[in-house]
Symmetry: C2
Subunit: 175 residues, 2 copies
């Protein structure tokens, strides 16, 4: 039986931070850059009076539809899928208006992942897999397999798990 790898979407294969920044800059005629985040989320670096708008972005239909693909993810996920069972597992239940966008995004950018291998969930401890590649270490707490942190702007200080800084490093680890 092949080992199974579950892979998160946001900040692992889909660059949602760039979309937050682009949308924020557009709405408020600002010039926020990813370098200014310093490990914080967009909502935590903007003026207090803008925060509510930023928090609302992922509830907007379309937000998750046009996210940039994280560099290297397509080729490496496709390679992984030759040797492992690969599932995409995303905490989509937090943002119900995103369901259709996330599914369409996966079909466009990861067409080699079957619908049978896509999971929209909330609490990821429900995921039965040998590995979970995720940028949020909170998902590893009750996960039965090994959690592997994918470096994002927000998790530099999280310790206690194997870490990969890029899809090249994922490739080196598994292939």
């Amino acid at each position: 039986m092949r080992q199974r790898i579950a892979i998160d979407m946001d900040e692992v294969i889909a660059d949602s931070t760039s979309a937050y920044i682009a949308r924020y800059n557009e709405e408020f005629k600002a010039n926020l850059t990813i370098g200014q985040l310093n490990g914080k989320k967009v909502r935590d670096v903007v003026p207090q009076e803008h925060r509510e708008r930023v928090v609302s972005y992922p509830f907007t239909p379309g937000f998750f539809r046009d996210l940039p693909v994280i560099e290297g993810s397509q080729a490496v996920v496709q390679e992984l899928a030759q040797k492992y069972e690969v599932f995409i597992a995303t905490a989509a239940m937090e943002f119900p208006p995103c369901f259709a966008d996330k599914f369409a995004w996966l079909q466009q950018h990861f067409p080699f992942i079957s619908w049978a291998n896509i999971v929209f969930c909330g609490d990821k401890s429900i995921v039965q897999a040998d590995y979970l590649i995720d940028d949020s270490v909170r998902h590893f707490k009750d996960f039965r397999g090994e959690g592997i942190v994918f470096t994002s702007p927000f998790n530099h200080h999280d310790q206690g798990y194997r870490r990969v800084n890029s899809w090249r490093e994922v490739r080196d680890l598994f292939l």
Copy 2:
């Protein structure tokens, strides 16, 4: 740590067969009843020339929004949730247009189930739980916990698993 029960939607808490029959009868001015199914699906008992229409029903937005609730399921699921971790796990990926309807239906009829405990998947072997109550025994094949068959019009002949015929029997089994 509490034991975890995963529960399917269609034919376990949501009566989709009734909706197939109602929609079919309405479209074709027919008088099909559940008693006429004899363990077959609606698409398998209608004239060949109607089959394509019936197969299309679950891809229609709205189909899953108004399904009747299976008798007894609300009260027993609520009781189970006091003693167990309860997740709802449905193979929604097969019918992407149903995502929003299934989520809204759960919010309406099972408001005590948190979004964090809802799973839309394809292959249910991804579900990490101690028990899976489902009407499709195909989902038990690679499931790591115990599969429990919930009797539906289509599974009378499936053997090899514990079976419950009603939510009263689920209650007797777990509570």
